[in-house]
Structure formats: C-alpha cells, structure tokens
C-alpha cells in the first residue's frame, strides 16, 4: 500500500492510530498518576477521532455515535472519575518507580513487532490498510496487558485495563467498521460499571492492606500465617 494513493483523511487516520500507540508508550512509562490519567484521556479522544474519521470516509453514520460515546465515556467521564478517586485517596502526588524503564519500553516495542508479525498472514483476508490498523490495535491491547504486568499500582492497572479496551475498540472500528450499535452500547455500559466497581474495590483494598500497591495483596494469602 502506498500512502500517496490515499486521501488526506485516510492518511490522518494512520497518523492518529500511530499516536494512539505513542500514548500507549507514554502510559507505560509515565510514573505520575495524574499525568497517566491525562494520557489515558488523550488516548480515548484519539480513538474517538479515528472512529469518527473512519465513519466519515466510509459514510457510516452510526460510527459517529460510537465516536461520541467513546469521547464522552473514555475521554471525559472515566478520567474524571479516576481523578476524583485519586484526589479522594490522597494520591495526587504519588508516583511509582519502574525498575528498568528502558527495558519496559523496549519490551513494548518488541510487543509491537510481534503484533505486526501476527497480523501479517491476514494479508489475504482483509484490505491492507485495515490490516495495518489492526496491527496497531493489537499492539495497543498487548501494551495494555504489559502495563498490567509491570505496574503494581492499582489505579495504573485500571488504566492498563481501560487501554486494552481502547485497543479492542480501535480494532473493531478498523476491521469491521465498528460493531453493531447494541453491542457497543453494551460494552460502554460494562466499562462504566467496571469503573464504578473498581472505585469501590480501591477503597476496599486500601482498607484491608493500607495501600494500593497490588504486590502487597499477597498478605491476604492464607499461606502467610503458616510462613
């Protein structure tokens, strides 16, 4: 595929998709919680714009709606909720140190290459440009997962989880021009409920182990008494 053969909005889709990936990297290495939440909000906004652009190019009206939904939910509502949570838990200034930031980021790039490699055989199935977008979205999902692994902080883990969801949505938009509206509404609702549940959980975790560092959850293990 040659970029020059595409129209300007289509090129813009690629640029934005690449930016989504960039935000994933920022999320991965951003140690300050509030900044990470901002980055996540930007990722949501970018995904929403991609969806809207895809809708515009393909003249798909219902994608506008999904885009609006994403924007409202992931770029505004959830970040706002997280912000409030963080403020109420007095963790505005909290930051966690990654052990090997360079190594974490490098593994991230390896994941991107891996995602690209996975998607390559799909060449004959799909149109090339959506395949490339699919690679990006898969990479975003994997990066979100990687973030869940390397971050010990509960709020950061939630961000990783949410960015997995962003990646999935991007993939859906890229591969099938969006899911049916009912499914999307359902997913959006799920995410919202999950967010509320997470909020409740945060307070619970904090009550029981006096920290949001999930590595300390092992205190709850029953073997501890024996040891």
């Amino acid at each position: 595929m040659n970029l020059t053969q595409l129209s300007l909005p289509e090129q813009a889709i690629f640029v934005l998709a690449a930016l989504v990936l960039l935000v994933s990297f920022i999320l991965l290495s951003q140690t300050r919680l509030t900044a990470a939440i901002h980055a996540f909000a930007w990722q949501g906004a970018l995904v929403a714009v991609v969806a809207a652009l895809v809708g515009w190019v393909g003249a798909d009206a219902h994608l506008y709606l999904s885009a609006g939904l994403t924007l409202a939910l992931k770029a505004l509502l959830i970040p706002w909720m997280l912000h409030r949570l963080v403020r109420r838990l007095d963790m505005d200034a909290e930051r966690e140190a990654l052990v090997h930031p360079a190594l974490v980021a490098l593994t991230g790039t390896l994941l991107v290459v891996f995602a690209y490699w996975l998607v390559l055989p799909l060449e004959r199935l799909a149109v090339t440009d959506t395949r490339n977008l699919l690679a990006i979205s898969l990479a975003t999902v994997l990066m979100g997962f990687w973030m869940l692994v390397v971050r010990a902080q509960a709020v950061a883990q939630v961000l990783g989880f949410m960015s997995i969801e962003n990646g999935l949505f991007l993939g859906a938009v890229a591969a099938t021009r969006g899911m049916p509206l009912v499914v999307e509404l359902g997913v959006a609702f799920d995410v919202l409920v999950a967010m509320i549940l997470f909020g409740v959980f945060f307070f619970q975790i904090r009550e029981s182990i006096d920290s949001l560092d999930t590595d300390r959850l092992d205190r709850l293990a029953e073997t501890e008494e024996e040891a």
């Binding site: 090997h100 290459v113 690209y116 490699w117 390559l120």
Partner: protein
C-alpha cells in the same frame, strides 16, 4: 610472485632463533619483513588478477597431499597479513632490544614468531581440510608460546592456559564442521566440498560448528573471555599480530567455510550472525570503556570490531539468503573492508601502546598523561589510530562502517517484516557502538597523551627509536590511504564476492575513482578525497585569514584555576572518572563492586568492574567440569593393573564397535 614464498621466508625467520640472543633482531626481523613484503605482493597480485594460484605439496598423509591455493579472498588476507607484518618487522628490533638482557630468551620470540606467521599464511593458503587444520593448530600453538613468553608471572600463565583451552575447543568444533562436509564430499580437499550437494539440515549443522569454532577464535561474545586476558600479556608487537591478524584469520576461516565451502546460505544463519555481531560490538566497547589498562582496553576493542565485521557478514548472509546478491556482496565487501581496516588501526594502536610501554614501563593509564609532548611522533600516530578506530572521517574506519550502514539501509527490499525491523535495530546498535568507541578513545588519548603527567616514569619518557616510529608511521599512512581511496579498495574487494558468489559491486566505482557509490549514485555517495580536500582548504583559509594582522602571536599563561591554587596533575579527570557516567547508565551490564573500604579516616574508594559473562557462562561450566571430574575420580585408584584393565576393556569395546 609465487605465494609460497611468504610462508617459506616466515619459516626461515624462525631459524633466526639459532643465531642466539641477537639473532632475532639481526636475522629474524629482516626475514619477517621480507615475508611480509612477499605476502603483500602476492596478495595484491591476486586482487588485480583473479585467477587462483594453486600447488600440491608432496607432504602430509600418503593419500592426501597438501593442497595449496590462493584466490581473491586469500589475496585480501595476504595483503592484510603482509602490511601488519612489515610494520611489525620495522618496529620489532627496537622493541625487543630490552629483552636481550631479560630472563626470558628472545630466541623463543624469534622461533614462535616465525612459526606463528607461517601458520597464519598457511591457513590462508590451505586448500584441503587436513592442511587447514595443521596450519590452524600451528598458529594456535605457537601463539600460545608467545602469550606465555613472560611466563615468570602467574597471571600470564593463567591467561595462556585459558587461551589454549578455548583455542582447542574451537579447533575441535571446526574439525567437526569439516567432518560433516567431508562426509558428503567424500574427500578432504576443498574442491570436493565445494562441489558436494549437502542437504540444508546438515549445512546448518556445518555452519553452526564453523560459527562456534571460528567465532571462539575471533572472540565473539560470549566466547570472548580469553581475548582480553591473552592479548595484553604478549609482547606488544605480538599483540599487534594477534589482535590485528590472527582474529582476521578466524574471520577468513568463517567466510571461507560459510560462503565458499558450505554454500547455499540461508537467511536464518544471517540473523544469528547479525545478532551475535551486534551484541559483541556493543558489549565489547562497553567493557573496553571500563578498562584502564591500555592494552587490555585495546583487546576489548578487538571484540567490538570483530562484532562489527560479523554485523557486515550477517547482513551479507541475510541478503544472499533472500536472493539479493548485489546487496549481499555489499555486506561482504563492508565486512572485509572493516577486517582490513581493523587489522591496520588495531596493529597501529598496539604498536603505539608498546611504544608507551617501552618508554615508560607503564600499562595503566591512570599513571600516564602528557605523553604527547614527550613522544610527539608516537602521539601523532596514535591519534591517527584513535580517529580511525572511532570511525570518524576521513580515515578508514569510517568508510567500512559507512558501507555497513548503507547495506543495512537497504532492509526495505526484504519481504519479511521482522527482518526489516531487525536490520535497522542492529544498525542502531552499531551507531551506539561507534559513538561509544569515540568516547572511549577520547578517554584513552585524553588521559594518556594529553593533560599533565601523573606518574614519575611518565615524566621521564622519551621518544622511541626510528624503527619503531617507522613501523607505526607505515600503518598510520595505510589508515589514511584506505580512508581516502575507498573506491579503489572497495573495487579490489568486490573481486571476492565476484569469485565466491558470482556477484560483484557493479556500481561501486561507476562514477570514477573520486566517488564511492555502493548501490547507485542516487542512493548514496561519498567522495572521500573531496572531503579531505575540503577540510584542508577550509583549514588553510581559516588559518591564513586569522593569522594576518598584528595579534598573531600566542602567549602562554597558567590555566584558569578559579582563583585557587594552581591545578596539579592529581586534579585531572582520571580514566575511571571519565567513564563514570557511562558506567552508571549501563550499570546492569557489568559486575560492579564499588564502595569505600578501610577504617574511619583512612578510607579509600575502590572499584572493580567485572565481566558478567564470567558469572553467567564460564563459572557454571567450570563447576560442571569439576563436578564431572570428581565423579570419575574413582577410576584413579592408583593401582597400575587397574589402569591396564581399563585400557583392555576400552580396546575390547572399540574392537566390538568397529566389527
């Protein structure tokens, strides 16, 4: 000129040992130099005229005479060996003069030096596996004796043993590789191996064995551990030969085996070589940065440069294996170019280090400083070597790295997406390596040759004799020539892939000798002579324009001291301090033991930076071997008849197997 002349002269120079303590100086080195000259001439001859020269010697096994052959690839090696040998021959007499009154006898140097040279030349000439292995072992064994020349020190004996051990494991691996090929070819001579049809699986096995064996000899990470131990302890002119030439013979063996004998390269091999090469290059330079023993540092740089050579070879394998022969040829030419270059500047640097050692009896850089004023010639030549090894234009190191980059940049022609990512990443590692090498040689030159003297010996240093300067000057001149005339050199080297793989570099010199255009003029071009001319012109204009007027003279004053006392030599940045930021950034790659020791009030800072591979690879292997050895100690009963019984049993089993 018949190529056999060079090894004969080398063997003759070994006979210099017969003439007593001064024989080395009066007879050995002149013959050494003649051998080098003969090698240069026959090597150049084969680069200009690609018809191979061959000869069957009535020696060796009754059913297998020694086959000798010199083709273009051998010609490159002959040229390289000859240049370094010639410089060493000029340099040697002055350097070994002090050994004549020492405890170690210089006869040994003459004998084993001659044998060593003859062994290397014969490895290149050999055209059957038997002759190759004999020459290979001759090279390894005689260099072992050179390493342990100063055997009165325990550390040298230990280094020599480690070297011998690893050389033998490597030799075994090479032997097995030949055995695989010979089994399919039905003969030991290379012509039969070339013609043999070997299935891919066995080809891969032969390649892996060759990679292991030659890689061990060349000092690739993680099999490099012997190199920084063995090279520094040999006398400096031998270090120059070992680092400059012997490693190149290992590279030659790898190229001969992989591209010529095994043939039908697979791109997967290239990936393995590429990754190993990149890791070697990066780790080599990082470990080098941590050293403050000058010769040890240079030895680690050999690991780095061999890594760069193998990056080029890996690129060549990848491109040949995926059906891009022109780019493969480019990779191969880049690798050979760097092989040649590294021989020149590494030999130059070792000779320079030897000159410093000769003048100051000091190998530790922390005691040097300000040597440029005492030894202006050596200092100047050493600077040339530093610029060349740091891959800066307009010297030769830059050209070969540039060619390697150009080859890596063509990654977009590949079909596989992962390969397309891998090649630029390894090129980025190469870039990091180059920049770190520059940092390292700023450290070396800045600490050893600039600034103020840090030690008593250094303050009394004097310039070395004419012969030693001539030897270094020859190599420095060659560095410059190979840097300014890259088109000529690349044109000559392109004969190697043309002969081995059937593809040269059609475009490299198409625009005349001024322009080096590896792929096409639109893709990339480099006009080294014009760059040099531009530098010289700009310099001349700037200097002339500034020197006019009345404020021409320069007056001397004390350096700025911030208003305190005059800065002394102890206030200078040391080599360790220079490398401190890099040590911190790449800390996890080293085994660092750092801290304060001693009682209150008399504390001293101590720092020990070790090679991680000792802990990761060598110590476990050592433990394993020890454990295995303990297991079999029950055989050592001490009774003679029991031993004889074991022997009989073995004989019976062998006969049973054979029957």
């Amino acid at each position: 000129m018949p190529a056999i002349l060079a090894p004969i002269l080398a063997l003759l120079s070994a006979a210099g040992a017969l003439a007593g303590a001064r024989g080395l100086r009066l007879l050995g080195f002149p013959l050494f130099g003649l051998a080098g000259l003969a090698a240069i001439l026959s090597g150049l001859g084969h680069l200009l005229d690609p018809t191979p020269w061959s000869l069957v010697l009535p020696m060796g096994l009754p059913w297998l005479h020694w086959h000798l052959r010199l083709d273009t690839l051998g010609g490159v090696l002959f040229l390289l060996i000859g240049l370094v040998t010639l410089a060493v021959a000029l340099y040697g007499p002055g350097y070994v003069r002090e050994f004549e009154h020492g405890r170690s006898r210089p006869e040994a140097l003459a004998l084993f030096g001659g044998l060593f040279l003859a062994g290397m030349l014969l490895v290149v000439l050999a055209d059957d596996a038997f002759a190759f292995m004999v020459a290979w072992e001759l090279m390894s064994l005689s260099s072992y004796f050179l390493v342990t020349y100063r055997h009165d020190q325990a550390a040298n004996r230990r280094a020599g043993f480690l070297y011998l051990l690893m050389a033998h494991i490597g030799g075994l691996s090479i032997l097995l590789g030949f055995a695989v090929l010979a089994a399919f070819a039905g003969g030991f001579d290379f012509a039969a191996m070339r013609a043999a049809e070997v299935p891919l699986a066995w080809r891969t096995i032969a390649f892996s064995l060759a990679f292991l064996g030659f890689g061990m000899k060349a000092g690739l990470v993680p099999l490099h551990a012997w190199l920084p131990e063995a090279h520094p302890v040999a006398p400096s002119h031998v270090s120059a030969l070992m680092s400059g030439v012997m490693l190149k013979v290992a590279v030659y063996g790898f190229v001969r085996m992989t591209f010529d004998l095994v043939g039908g390269v697979h791109w997967g091999w290239g990936v393995a070589v590429l990754i190993t090469g990149s890791v070697s290059a990066l780790l080599g330079v990082l470990y080098a940065l941590m050293q403050h023993d000058l010769k040890r540092l240079l030895a680690y740089h050999s690991v780095e440069n061999i890594g760069i050579v193998f990056i080029g070879l890996g690129l060549a394998l990848v491109f040949f294996g995926t059906g891009h022969p022109v780019l493969g040829a480019l990779g191969l030419v880049a690798a050979l170019y760097h092989t040649l270059n590294h021989a020149l500047f590494k030999a130059l640097l070792f000779l320079g280090a030897g000159a410093v050692l000769h003048a100051t009896h000091e190998r530790d850089m922390e005691h040097m400083g300000g040597l440029l004023k005492a030894m202006p010639w050596t200092g100047g030549f050493f600077l040339v070597g530093c610029i060349a090894i740091a891959a800066l234009p307009p010297f030769n190191g830059f050209v070969s790295e540039w060619l390697t980059f150009q080859a890596a940049l063509q990654a977009w022609v590949l079909d596989s997406g992962v390969l397309r990512v891998l090649l630029p990443v390894s090129a980025a590692m190469l870039a990091l390596t180059g920049a770190l090498a520059a940092a390292c040689f700023v450290k070396v030159y800045g600490v050893a040759f600039l600034g103020l003297p840090r030690g008593r010996h250094v303050r009394k240093a004097r310039e070395v004799g004419l012969g030693m300067r001539l030897g270094q000057g020859l190599l420095a001149l060659a560095c410059l020539a190979f840097g300014i005339l890259p088109t000529v050199v690349a044109g000559l080297l392109a004969g190697v892939p043309r002969q081995l793989m059937g593809t040269g570099l059609p475009e490299a010199g198409a625009q005349g000798w001024l322009w080096l255009t590896p792929i096409s003029p639109a893709t990339a071009s480099y006009a080294a002579p014009l760059v040099v001319l531009g530098l010289a012109l700009a310099w001349a204009i700037a200097a002339l324009w500034l020197r006019r007027g009345e404020v021409r003279e320069v007056s001397r004053c004390e350096p700025w001291d911030c208003g305190f006392s005059r800065p002394g030599p102890g206030m200078q940045y040391t080599a360790t301090a220079f490398a401190q930021p890099i040590r911190r950034v790449f800390g996890m790659l080293f085994q660092i033991d750092e801290g304060m020791r001693g009682e209150q009030g008399r504390q001293r800072f101590h720092l020990q930076v070790g090679d991680r591979f000792w802990g990761w690879l060598y110590l476990p292997v050592e433990r394993l071997v020890n454990a295995a050895a303990r297991r079999v100690t029950f055989l050592q009963a001490g009774r003679l008849r029991a031993y004889l019984g074991w022997s009989l049993g073995t004989l019976l089993v062998l006969l049973w197997v054979a029957a």
